[in-house]
Amino acid sequence: MADQEITLMKGNEAIAHAAIRCGCDGYFGYPITPQSEVLETLAEQKPWETTGMVVLQAESEVSSINMVYGGACTGKKVMTSSSSPGVSLMQEGISYMAGAELPALIVNVMRGGPGLGTIQPSQSDYFQACKGGGHGDYHLIVLAPASVQEMADFVDLAFTLAFRYRNPAMILADGAIGQMMEKVVLPPFKPRRTEEEIIKECPWATTGRIGGRKPNIITSLELRSEEMEVINLRIQAKYREIEAKEVRYEEFMLDDAEYAIVAFGSAARIAKKSIEIARSQGIKVGLLRPITLWPFPTKEVKSLASRVKGILSLEINAGQMVEDIRLAVEGAVPVLHFGRLGGIIPDPDEVVEVLKSSF
């Protein structure tokens, strides 16, 4: 496939193609609906014959994430993908990677829970993705794509951020974005880094003591509390830097808006349609779409509160991001939540009705 060609594919397929193209070294995954096309597409594309990328179907999500952990220890660009129940199983490994400060990419194509739940789309893993998820004080860098194009673009972005900060990054998508087909221009091919480049760029990695250097040890273990606090403080300082530098968001029709919807991922797409409908009825409403869910665009939401009379948090869950909006707004304007549960996607008309009845 030539560079820059416009093509039509599913979000899950775009993730796989983008991974091959951005020089990913290894993918380790386990089938689960609605994300299995990622592993299927990679298996069909056979990148081990072209770029040399390793693709392996693991025996479980627990194993997948620990393969990612092992690969990340060695400085390679490694990733996994799963859907909600599988991502729950991965939390242990994600916590270890955050603790050992390792770059990696985890893709969660969310489905409705709790438990085995449903295979239909949901955004109910916001808390899990943004507030830690596993044990210990940590954050992932969380990107929320709202189109197939962003599914493709965020793979490279996530790796860039993960390596910049030596922190695991997550693409938090949902079944709708994963399963839908849209136009996409795949990113250009970037060669995988050579072993020499990795050894140079990741002097911390466990690549073997090439050149007789001192041993590198990747661990999250430190039994001396005074030392463990120092490590935690260093990680927290890194998080403050990420919060200061890496917030990403999109504004849509906010210039003259009296009300704002805050929504991410596929909910933001629905919000745009609702805004078209509402504006045709004379309701001036706009959208703020967080692209990074962590770091959350706190300042931008706070400033939004000074410009509008009310904010609606539209989420495909029971109300999770709304807590971060309320923390940002500090009571300046009413902040309401609307969402549907169990794999039901709110339709644009019902969102307009909620806008009308709420404000």
């Binding site: 070294d25 290894g26 380790f28 390793v54 392996l56 693991a58 025996e59 479980s60 627990v62 194993s63 997948s64 620990n66 393969m67 990612v68 952990y69 092992g70 690969g71 220890c73 060695t74 390679k76 490694v78 242990e92 490994g93 270890y96 050992a100 072993e195 466990t206 690549t207 073997g208 003591r209 090439i210 050149g211 007789g212 001192k214 041993p215 590198n216 040890i217 990747i218 661990t219 999250s220 273990l221």
Partner: protein, 257 residues
């Protein structure tokens, strides 16, 4: 007389491997870990793989193995070492990749990772220390605890009705098509130590030759957990452990591949 003076006079009769550093080990006196660490270090050095080795340590007594052997180490979550090793070896095929795991880590919480890594014929070696007890957490029952053996969580002795049977993971591993070399060794006598070293060397060589996965079980003592003197523990091991965990090679297809 200083160490250097003794060496100068040609009286050196033993030298620890260079890879084994001077950090005092946290292992209990009489524990088998120290001997196995030494053997692993010697084999890496003798194979000239010092700069190409990536090791994975477990959760358990050997969690700090990375403090003692001067190669690159990854510290895995409990039971997951074979998953880390699988990815590491696939991503760096010319490296010597091995895990070092105890019975709780390998045969209990990490059974799935162990069996599947071995059966995928990952070109790695698993060093498996089986002392039939959880050492680090204070002597609880392991999957390999013998029937009748007393631990903190089977204080009246392991019995089938309550706890089921001890697990012979190494026998299972020998039935897997992915394994190349599966052996059970011990380090309680000089002769046994020499055999164990040969076994580790063979396993490492097979994994570098791409012949599949290799499992070296070392039946070991845990004096603290067993509440015995080192000497008595060795005797008890010979009389009880070896009865159930027979020493020797269970499988060696390296020559055929």
């Amino acid at each position: 007389m200083t160490r250097e003076e003794i060496i100068e006079k040609g009286q050196l009769v033993y030298k620890k491997p260079t890879l084994l550093n001077d950090t005092p080990m946290h292992y209990c006196p009489g524990c088998s870990h120290g001997v196995v660490h030494k053997l692993v270090s010697e084999v890496i050095e003798e194979m000239g793989m010092t700069d190409k080795t990536i090791a994975i340590s477990p959760v358990g007594c050997a969690v700090f193995a990375y403090k003692y052997i001067d190669v690159d180490w990854q510290e895995a979550a409990h039971g997951r070492a074979p998953a880390l090793a699988s990815a590491t070896k696939r991503l760096w095929p010319d490296r010597l990749v091995f895990t070092y795991q105890g019975d709780g880590d390998l045969a209990c919480i990490g059974t799935a990772e162990t069996i599947h890594a071995l059966n995928r014929a990952e070109n790695i070696t698993i060093i498996f220390i089986n002392n039939a007890i959880y050492g680090m957490t204070g002597g609880q029952m392991a999957p390999t605890t013998l029937l009748g053996m007393k631990t903190a969580t089977c204080p009246y002795g392991r019995e089938v009705k309550l706890h089921g049977y001890p697990l012979k993971v190494t026998e299972i591993a020998a039935t897997l098509d992915g394994t190349c070399y599966v052996t059970r060794q011990a380090v309680h006598t000089v002769a046994a130590i020499n055999r164990a070293k040969k076994a580790i060397r063979k396993a490492f060589e097979y994994s570098m030759q791409g012949k599949g996965s290799n499992l070296v079980e070392i039946v070991s003592t845990c004096n603290s957990g067993w509440k015995m003197s080192p000497e008595k523990a060795n005797k008890w091991m010979e009389e009880n452990m070896f009865e159930f965990y027979h020493l020797g090679d269970l499988k060696d297809t390296g020559a055929d591949k």
